[in-house]
Amino acid sequence: MLELFASQVVNGLAIGQVYALIALGFTLVFGVSNLINFAQGALFMLGAFIAFSGVTVLHLPLPAAAVLSVVVVSLLGMLLERVALRPLENAPYIAPVLSTLAISLIIDQLAEIIWSPEGQAFPVPFEEATYFFGAAYVTSTDLLIFGFGAVTTVALTLFLSRSWLGRTLRATAQDRDAAAQLGVRTGNVKGMAFALAGLLGALSGILVALYFKSVFPQMGLPYGLKGFAAALLGGLTSMPGAVLGGLLLGVVETLASAYVGEGYRDLVAFTLVLVFLVFRPQGLLGNRRLDALGGAGGAAGAMPSTSVLTSASSQRGAVRTLDLPPWGFLAVGAVLALLPAVTQSAYVLQAVAYAMIFALLVASVTLVSGALGMLSIGHAAFYGVGAYAVGLLARNAGWPAEAAIAGAALVTAAVAVASALPLLKLSGHTVALGTLAVGQIGYLVFMTWLEVTRGPMGFINIPAPRLAVLGGLNLSSLVQKFWLIAAVAALALALAQRLLDSGIGRVWRGIREDRLAAHAAGLPVRRYILLGFALSGVLAGTAGGLFAYVQSVVSPESFTVGVSILLLTIAVLGGLGNLTGAALAGFALTLLPELLRPFAEWRMIVYGVALLIMLRLRPHGLLGAR
């Protein structure tokens, strides 16, 4: 028994050092530019694939291909900084994070187009040896990874602490303006940090490819997430912390897999992240800087402020915002309700129905991410809770539609409030990591709680909505469901808009702009944040419930982190905090891909590019953030 336990710990250390390597890249960039680089996972994946192509297409020996890949990805890292981040130095704090998100969307999808979405065998040039110690074993690849990891960590630490270049890096991280005044070319320094991050990304990508003997275009996101988690556990700013965090994550999830079940591995990993966020937000070896950082810095690292919308150089400029009054949503809903008179095409009605649901959903995201200023990359989980709740209430308990949707909204609100509790102390970029963990946990619960959700098999046979008000009328046809969705979505949006226009909305925006000031002014900040999450949960739960009714089948792949990222992207495009913008962008960007269906592969790339352009030219979104 003990022998098996020891061998599982060794297994955990083996995968843990892989996570540690990825985490180092994040930590480096965060330490230097206070920026959470969401594109790190994409660089990691590219590193593996360029080495793969070097070996299979150019017929280079592996070491040469690896060097080629490291050089190319380092240059790409610099290019990324130059193209996607430097122009945003004086943009709102939120812009650089979203910019790296956009880049990762683009790179991930391009990789699927270039190398096909399939996994490929990675040619391992050497015969792998395994060394046994009782039940435990390590392979020669493990030792190789350990060697590279140790050398890299030591070299990086020495470079940062001893060399002049390293010192300029750290000086820039501490105070960009002061460093610039002392003659440091801060622009170049940041470029170098990203080149280093690219180097680390490529190196870890190649080593992971050797570990699994295969490469996958989709490996960027899951391993990127694990890298984040490891970096967060370690304390985000500490190199040894990143290594320790990686090892801890590896051991904990391996033990979970061994003693709870293979299916629970990721669930336990992300729960660990959430636990750390609550009890030790500075991580294992981090300093309190993380707390102080909050939303401060962005790409620039200047005055601490909690607002995601203000920029480093100035307070927010005056931006004209366009938004509808509450009754406007009802009017638009009424106009849309006439659509079945124009067309009977089920395909068109279904597409518009989804578009209305998404409008509602994006509005829910913008409430938290925009009005409250707490970036959410986890809203798909709330959406899912609503969908499953309606499934359970309508199918298993036989509730009529009005009760089921209201019930789902309340359940989701409760879940949203509960998941907001650990996020209360966080703000700015770190809250994005927290919500990411929440979103991932939600998805994994849908995936593993088979008794309730039936996991990947999907929750099937959700009955058509039955309206008790109209004497138990069954809305079985698509047109009737369409009307239900138009009515509910319009009403929910109108109420939310009314709320945003009221004193409560003003307090939310006040908390976003300056949490400390709001607190000092005697406002119960925590209560208002929880209220914001509750209302966001109501909207997301309603959207999920409607989705379950149209779809009649609900399965976890509708609620992945990818969906959450997409929702946040759409919310930003519409203008953060602007319900009209959110609803319009959600509506339009759900319909647009339908029109462009033949170019489905390019959909995510178009979103990514649109987001990049928007951040550059109109960072406050189409209709203006408010």
């Binding site: 098996l4 061998s7 599982q8 297994n11 955990g12 083996a14 995968i15 699927e112 096909s116 979405p117 399939e118 996994g119 490929q120 065998a121 792998e128 395994t130 046994f132 039940a135 435990a136 074993y137 392979t139 699994f212 003997k213 295969s214 996958f216 989709q218 490996m219 899951p222 391996t254 033990l255 897999s257 061994a258 293979e262 299916g263 591995r265 990721d266 089920a346 395909y347 279904q350 597409a351 989804y354 994994l444 995936m447 593993t448 088979l450 996991g455 990947p456 098999m457 999907g458 099937i460 779809q551 009649s552 089948v553 399965s555 792949e557 509708s558 339908e594 269906r597 489905a600 592969e601």
Partner: protein, 372 residues
């Protein structure tokens, strides 16, 4: 007078023949939807290639009784939501009388109510969960259901590989969860023992904890109820840990991609299949497929080819019987038609289900060979 009458008759005759000719040339549309982009898109590509190959052959021979066949291709990205959307699109397109799709049971199930409502038959080449054909009278499949496959799985590991104490890692999806239960039951019924079963989340890659657990349980056989991507990494990590007991697999491992990804670790793995590209009687199809797509067809291609074959045969019978060509008439011909001999065995529908016999294959030198 007489001449006027004859002229009128002649004119009427010409009109009738002309309109008949016009009707004869009118194309017949078949809807197709599967998994054409994203992860596992290899399966969908096999489907599409095979269906197009079959319809090319039909159209080159002058179509179905002179009417060309058009294929309406849609991508469902293996997502139930997308499957429902493209199903609506297919049934809304004019003149669709049959639909082929999709790859997974989950996506096929999401589309099923839409085809049932539109009274158009849906043939899924690979949905193996028994629930699929229970949805309505409009659902048909080409492969065996999972309860039949479970017996073949048990035969593979217990009878062919002679393992008595078996470990089964399974994929936590519709197929895996059903398969592991039914396979374990079949093994125990035949006198074998299942030591442990363990769920694997789709997309998992690090199996070392599971491998250590399996190693500690000391089985004498492992059955992989996993998709080829997970299976290929699992088997490599299993062999790496020094566990060299026989391994068997089901339908997903018949994809050539499994051998490509797993490399040498795949050697000796035994699978059951209802199609074998090395079978001389399938040479014409294999050669045509290879010429057109420059790769060997797998079982998935063969199943989709048969789906198209069964469907076209039903449409042809409707046209020849002179009945109006509608989704309903095609569905009735499918359900009540004669047995259709295809590449993967004989299709004779009973409540939308078929029963086909397996061939056992072993992986050797980077390819599948008949197990002797």
């Amino acid at each position: 007078m007489r001449s006027l009458l004859s002229r009128l008759l002649a004119a009427a005759f010409i009109t009738v023949t002309l309109s008949a000719a016009a009707r004869a040339a009118e194309p017949i549309t078949i809807g197709f939807f599967s998994h054409l982009s994203g992860n596992f898109a290899e399966y969908g590509a096999s489907f599409r290639n095979a269906v197009e190959l079959y319809l090319d052959k039909i159209n080159a021979d002058g179509g179905i009784d002179g009417r060309p066949v058009k294929l309406l291709v849609e991508d469902d990205r293996n997502s139930p939501q997308e499957a429902a959307t493209v199903a609506r699109k297919i049934v809304a397109a004019p003149g669709v009388v049959l639909a082929i799709g999709s790859w997974s049971t989950t996506a096929s199930l999401a589309a099923a109510p839409i085809f049932a409502e539109a009274k158009i038959a849906q043939i899924s080449p690979t949905s193996s969960h028994p629930d699929f054909s229970r949805q309505s009278a409009y659902q048909f499949r080409q492969n065996n259901t999972d309860d039949i496959l479970a017996q073949y799985n048990a035969d593979t590991i217990h009878k062919k590989l002679k393992a008595g104490r078996i470990a089964i890692p399974y994929s936590q999806d519709d197929w895996g969860v059903f398969t592991v239960k039914a396979t374990a039951a079949a093994i125990e019924k035949d006198g074998g023992k299942v030591l442990l079963t363990e769920a694997v989340i789709p997309g998992a890659k690090d199996f070392r904890p599971l491998v250590s657990k399996i190693k500690a349980a000391k089985p004498d056989g492992v059955f992989l109820a996993l998709p080829y991507q997970e299976a290929s990494i699992f088997i490599q990590q299993l062999r790496q840990a020094g566990v060299d007991v026989p391994a068997g697999g089901g339908i997903p491992l018949t994809s050539p991609k499994f051998i490509e990804l797993a490399g040498k670790a795949a050697d000796g793995v035994v699978v059951h299949s209802i199609f074998f590209a090395g079978d001389p009687s399938k040479k014409a199809f294999v050669d045509a497929y290879k010429t057109k797509y420059n790769r060997l067809p797998d079982q998935f291609a063969a199943l989709a080819y048969d789906a198209a074959g069964v469907g076209v045969a039903a449409i042809r019978r409707v046209i020849q019987s002179g009945k109006p060509l509608t989704g309903q008439s095609v569905r009735d011909e499918l359900a009540n038609g004669p047995a259709y001999p295809g590449l993967t065995g004989v299709t004779k529908y009973e409540n939308g289900n078929v029963k086909k016999n397996p061939t056992f294959l072993v992986v050797r030198d980077g390819g599948f060979h008949l197990l002797d």
